[in-house]
Amino acid sequence: ENSPAPLPERAIYGFALFLGAWFGFILYLIWAYIPEAWLFSLGLTYWPQKYWAVALPVYLLVAVGIGYILLFGINMMSTAPLSSTQTITDNFAKKQQQQKFQEEAIPALRDIPISEVNRMFFLPEK
């Protein structure tokens, strides 16, 4: 049902978007380059100031650059501090139920408490 295969409708949407993008670009070039006097003589008087033809791309690029730094910072802020219990356990691990031990069967998957993990790793003598 939801396959990414090419369909006739998708081809038409794509072509419409392609034409729309070209139209938007040509319109932007006309607005940015053609002098105001010529546009007024055609009757097109209520267009935004040409200042924005330069300002908007600059705003976008600066936002993208700051976005890199912002994402990095948000990642660092959401990391749990060293003194929080989130580094050891969470709600799912606290509520897990103990499965009964069956002979000859693979033990059920569970979250092993950190004390047990430490004992396994660090206590046995080599």
Partner: protein
């Protein structure tokens, strides 16, 4: 009863002289621009006060862990100026001492921490107290400290039965 101490790196002479020279060069630059001689005396003052504050509040020389099986755990940090700050956690609150791994500043580090018991839930952990935050020992050192602590903590489980 055991005391385990980890010593941090000593204050380096070259970093001290680098910081002092940087501050004094900046002050000399400001003096050259503004022709105000107070800038130079202010720079000397700032350097001295900054060094004293750094030695008294920031630079930790040695962090030690004193584990007494029946009483509790005492964590001591001694600063370079001689100040010592201690924290005591009684044994009833201590659940375990473990080596935990966590993400810290784009790295995964091992650090020793004390798990405090949750009064309501016998299996739960109410708080995590990280140890040796300034001296940051490596994993081999942490394993030694961990084995030492576990020997003492095991005795407290068997002690009530023997006494």
């Amino acid at each position: 009863c055991r005391e385990l101490a980890v010593r941090g790196p000593r204050l380096q002479l070259r970093s001290l002289s680098a910081a002092t020279s940087a501050v004094w060069l900046a002050a000399y630059g400001l003096f050259a621009l503004s022709e105000n001689s107070m800038v130079l005396s202010a720079a000397i003052f700032i350097t001295l006060i900054g060094l004293i504050i750094y030695l008294h509040f920031v630079k930790i020389d040695q962090e030690s862990l004193l584990v007494i099986g029946s009483l509790g755990i005492q964590v001591t940090s001694s600063y370079a100026s001689g100040k010592e700050s201690t924290t005591f956690i009684e044994m009833g609150k201590v659940k375990d001492v473990v080596i935990n791994e966590a993400i810290h500043m784009q790295k995964v580090i091992y650090y020793l921490c004390i798990l405090l018991q949750d009064p309501e839930d016998p299996q739960g952990v109410s708080e995590v107290v990280p140890l040796f935050q300034s001296s940051k020992p490596c994993l081999d050192c942490l394993i030694e400290v961990y084995k030492s602590c576990q020997e003492i903590l095991e005795q407290r489980k068997t002690a009530p039965q023997s006494s």
